[in-house]
Symmetry: C2
Subunit: 142 residues, 2 copies
DNA sequence: AAATTACAGTTACGGATGTAACTATATCGA
DNA sequence: TCGATATAGTTACATCCGTAACTGTAATTT
């Protein structure tokens, strides 16, 4: 029987729907401002926050698929927003680092991010916002 | 300064990450069992739960893009899991309805859905699970 | 009624995706 | 040391996706 099953209470649906709302709401910003994809923004943000990393380290930090990272790195490099330097000890590995232009773009999007965060926080209220963050963080270990 | 911005506390990231965990976790089930895409599963589930609908009504219920619905309907129809009947009064419109095979598939996935829900609920605990559902529902109005 | 506008649904196109296969390099084991 | 295995990263392919343009039908305006 379907009686036990309610689409509008089904967590994968709720999650996905809410995620689209929140995640795509911010995507409009970096897409309109810089014509970036989500993968590109994620890679930029990760390098901006953590400094120089290898592609594999970006995969670890973000959970992005390695082909997404590879393509995003290529396209950010095309914009001259990052440099790559081959590792001397292991020539398979490249150290990826934002250029100053890349850092500027990151700063600009950070500010937009903080503003966007505030918008959602105002909507939910501080308590619910924190509750939501904590629950989502907890789900990472599912 | 980036100091205000913490990637791992940024809601679009948290949201997206948690959503991938939960939503793709269940996707493995319908993908492995029936080779369905997420759009197809959503359309199947919507028709299963609400009975006969038009494509536009499915768009309203699910929030899916109309091209996704169009393609999903086509492909589910190919499997003989749904019938379409042209509306006599408005010949642009088709009434879409699951066949008995479609209903069987839906039932089978409902059971999997209930089991999956239980798995997540056990992980989070009843109280947090409800809290999360409520917060996600609230976000629909963002 | 003819012309215009609105709507349901499909499709062409270019771009983004994941899988799997690949290249190049490094490491391990005999 | 050399053959096998593992790893970093890229690419070919098929698929999926959203935008915009389209088809066919209905409703509205004149």
């Amino acid at each position: 029987m379907k009686s036990e099953f309610d689409l509008h209470r089904f967590l994968p649906f709720l999650m996905h729907h809410a995620s689209e709302k929140v995640s795509l709401g911010f995507r409009d910003i970096y897409r309109d401002r810089y014509r970036m994809t989500r993968s590109e923004w994620r890679v930029l943000a990760t390098l901006g926050q953590y400094g120089a990393l290898t592609a594999t380290e970006i995969v670890t930090h973000t959970g992005l698929h390695k082909t997404k990272v590879s393509r995003a790195v290529f396209s950010i490099e095309q914009r001259r927003w990052l440099r790559r330097a081959q590792n001397e000890n292991d020539r398979r590995v490249h150290r990826l680092e934002l250029t100053s232009q890349g850092q500027s773009a990151f700063q600009s999007l950070c500010e937009a991010g903080v503003a966007y965060d505030k918008k959602v926080r105002d909507f939910l209220g501080d308590a619910d916002f924190k509750r939501l963050s904590d629950l989502l963080t907890k789900l990472n270990d599912l």
